[in-house]
Symmetry: C2
Subunit: 490 residues, 2 copies
């Protein structure tokens, strides 16, 4: 057990971050890219120490899971280095003075973004590397030029402290100022830090209840700050009759793999499978689920929460059990339930809910109209998936508006688990998927959460930030007088 | 007096907006540009009816003020039409499938934005056209493809209803679906609408107290929504010794014009003028202020609020009066106060505050160190201005970090009042300037507040939205595999 960070220590950490914020604001993206690369190198080098520590604290398997998660974490840090090198995140926009601007004479106005200030990151339990101390939010905020204070997750405290030490050492050696990165521990410490006047933004990945409580604190501050919470999702998967006919058994296998991956401890776990009545896949599904080995969950609190959520679904009078573990429920083996669509819709409040762990609910729909009605009762989430044949495109097209309303990412003939980070990736959605539906919490666009625009009006070129200077010293793609100009053009 | 909109009527209006939202989501940007142009044309045509109505309700002068404000409003609608035609707001981003992506095989992922849904707009009293019923937020939200429900400002109720009728007629004639735009009246009606589950985002321009109350309602909803509030600002203006020496009298004139413009009823009114001790401009300032004619304020509530705020500043023991109206204080004539920097800093809580109306406070600083200290006690706002000579650039450069922390727009040798709308414009800042510092509330980038990203993974081309199709039918500038590709490139 790691001790709760004291009030004095919290103040010291945030004061150091505040001092660092001023220094970071005048660094170049190139410098920060080198820091991120240095952090990535250091983590990679420490794999043989960190991975066994993570395995011990989280019960996640070393191979392939934790080894590949560490690689993903390293990749994320380097990907944000690429964002920095690219420079388009700076959103450099220049309007030259124009005496004939239709609204009236226009002065020279130039806009780019600056770091928002010290960021408080609440880490997740289920990705002890990729969404934790050196995880995605840390990478995005550091890339933006914001010092980061991480609130460690109690599910992997030793790993958190060790990762912090490695990161601080690597960043310092690479030239980052003192205070650029630090860690605090304890629920109360996290809340205290969130109320600190010098924290400028916060991010969170976790449960709806936990995230909402922090969101409320952030908004109740005398000076509210942006709070970027990713709170969870049910992730419905729609399967059409055509898809069942063409590749039913393959879909059953794919589904069983997806909802049990990582013992179902993913925010993108498919929690609902919408199958047409008469699909005839019960046996295949049961066999697929039965072949999934048991797996210990992250910790006791999560295991207990899972068991009670699963019981709530299982004991609903309209729900039948397709496959479940025997009385020896340790390690946890998956559970598959089913319900008719009309019953599901009557009880959507209690059945269309996220249950963190290896359980999923099959909803059998009679026809397209009923399928549409089911989609109509769901709350928004992170993903929505459709398995269909291309010959059914016309029908799928009519479903897309409902699916788009429901999710930040739509998947065609794939599975929602496994988020590949890239330029186009989006991981978000309307509440309760996230508290900030206009942003993504993963992928390169996630840097925008930690930047705020500033415009300079009528300034001499020498006093402008480099992205806005007439000579374009960083060779950025910029919008000039309303037209996109890439350096090759000019 | 216009009656408070009833609960039944609110429900009807929002139900119609919700139905319209689905229809708007499948319109093209080009269609919406035509709607905005039609709205602009209709307002322009109705100028001779609307301007006198506005003058009667707001006491603002018809010429040049209200005539030019109506032109600005028309310009805003057309400017968002240009944003739609340009299409870069769609942020079209394509990552092709890549088996060799370093994190692991990458599926095809494509991202663009979709309208967030029905938007509730709380209008401002001080710009009865440009920030009201057909104002900037309405233009931005309609451009984004969101139906708009406006909460009318009680300061100009008849104008609000008449503008609503003109807008509804023009939009309908241009082909916009029923429910695309409507109006409701009354404080309680506004709060009820803000709590309605089908409202997806809200925007506000007004006082800190009023904006905060609505921000709190938006966040306390079972499903919180983005709330974009612009709450006000003190707008400090720094004048260097060099500027005083080179053009003191001209600065005094410019300052007097700026803080008294529109009877000081601008969110960008310079509320503080930081002058070096020994500036010798007292007489010039007094003369400039004395020559400003009296002007009726918007309404009695605002006049009363102004008088009490002015008294609070004026009666502070460290404050001296440079110029003030005589006992006959109707119409309102400007007041100019001054204070020494050290006294100001001791009472920043009560002196560094926005007072909506034609009053400003001169703060006399002894030297650069004291100037820096004054900037250190200010709260963030919308703008910060510096008047200096280019020969003082080195000194100004050292002030820029503090000024950037304080504001969303920095102005060099100009005045903060008069916001020109353009691509680079930014009107925002950390709280209390706005509740959403990552966004602008004016300028073309303001459309981003009403759009949310969605990613499509592995979809057949025919099921993708046009911005994401391989053939680029709309000829957009897009980011493809991390590289910006403009249509001219191929």
């Amino acid at each position: 057990m790691i001790a709760e960070t004291s009030r004095t220590e919290i103040d010291r950490i945030i004061a150091a971050a505040t001092t660092a914020a001023a220094q970071l604001a005048v660094t170049t993206p190139g410098e920060r890219a080198r820091w991120l690369d240095a952090a990535a190198d250091a983590l990679e080098k420490a794999a043989d120490e960190l991975v066994p520590l993570a395995a011990r604290e989280t019960h996640l398997p070393e191979r392939p899971r934790l080894r590949s998660e560490l690689l993903r974490t390293v990749f994320q840090l380097r990907l944000f280095g690429q964002v920095l090198t690219d420079g388009e995140f700076l959103d450099a926009t220049i309007d030259h003075a124009d005496p004939d601007w239709p609204m009236g004479a226009r002065p020279d106005i130039r806009r780019t973004v600056v770091p928002i200030g010290p960021v408080l990151v609440f880490t997740a339990s289920n990705f002890p590397f990729a969404l934790s101390v050196a995880g995605h939010d840390t990478a995005a905020a550091l890339a933006a030029g914001c010092p980061v204070v991480v609130k460690a997750h109690p599910g992997h405290p030793e790993l958190s402290v060790r990762t912090r030490d490695i990161l601080v050492e690597a960043l310092t050696a690479a030239g980052a100022p003192t205070g650029t990165f630090d860690l605090l521990c304890g629920v109360e410490a996290g809340r205290t830090a969130l109320r600190h006047p010098d924290i400028a933004a916060a991010s969170f990945t976790g449960s709806e209840a936990g995230g909402r409580a922090l969101f409320d604190i952030a908004n109740a501050r005398p000076r509210p700050i942006p709070f970027y919470g990713e709170l969870g999702s049910v992730n419905p998967v729609v399967v059409t009759l055509g898809a069942v006919k063409a590749r039913g058994p393959e879909l059953a296998e794919g589904f069983a793999s997806s909802f049990t991956l990582g013992a179902g401890q993913f925010c993108t776990k498919p929690g609902l499978l919408l199958l047409p009545e008469g699909h005839g896949l019960d046996e295949t599904l049961c066999a697929a689920v039965a072949s999934v080995p048991g797996q210990a969950m992250l910790n006791e609190r999560i295991t207990d929460g899972y068991r009670s959520g699963r019981e709530q679904l299982r004991e609903h009078p309209a729900v039948t059990v397709l496959s479940e573990p025997g009385p020896a429920d340790d390690p946890i083996r998956p559970t598959l339930l089913k319900v008719r669509a009309d019953d599901f819709m009557k009880s959507a409040e209690s059945l269309a809910v996220e249950c963190f762990g290896p359980v999923s609910l099959i909803v059998e729909y009679a026809d397209e109209a009923e399928l549409r009605a089911v989609l109509g009762v769901l709350k928004p989430g992170l993903t929505a998936t459709v398995h269909a044949q291309e010959s059914e495109s016309d029908m799928v097209r009519t479903l897309l508006p409902a699916l788009t309303r429901l999710a930040g990412r739509l998947i065609w003939n794939g599975w929602p688990t496994g988020i590949i980070l890239s330029w186009a990736q989006h991981h978000g959605g309307p509440y309760p998927a996230t508290t900030a539906p206009v942003f993504t919490s993963m992928g390169t666009a996630a840097i925008a959460r930690f930047l705020r625009p500033v415009a300079w009006q009528g300034f001499p070129d020498a006093l402008l930030l480099p992205p806005l200077r007439e000579t374009n010293p960083w060779q950025l793609s910029r919008r000039i007088n309303g037209i996109r100009v890439t350096p090759a053009d000019g």
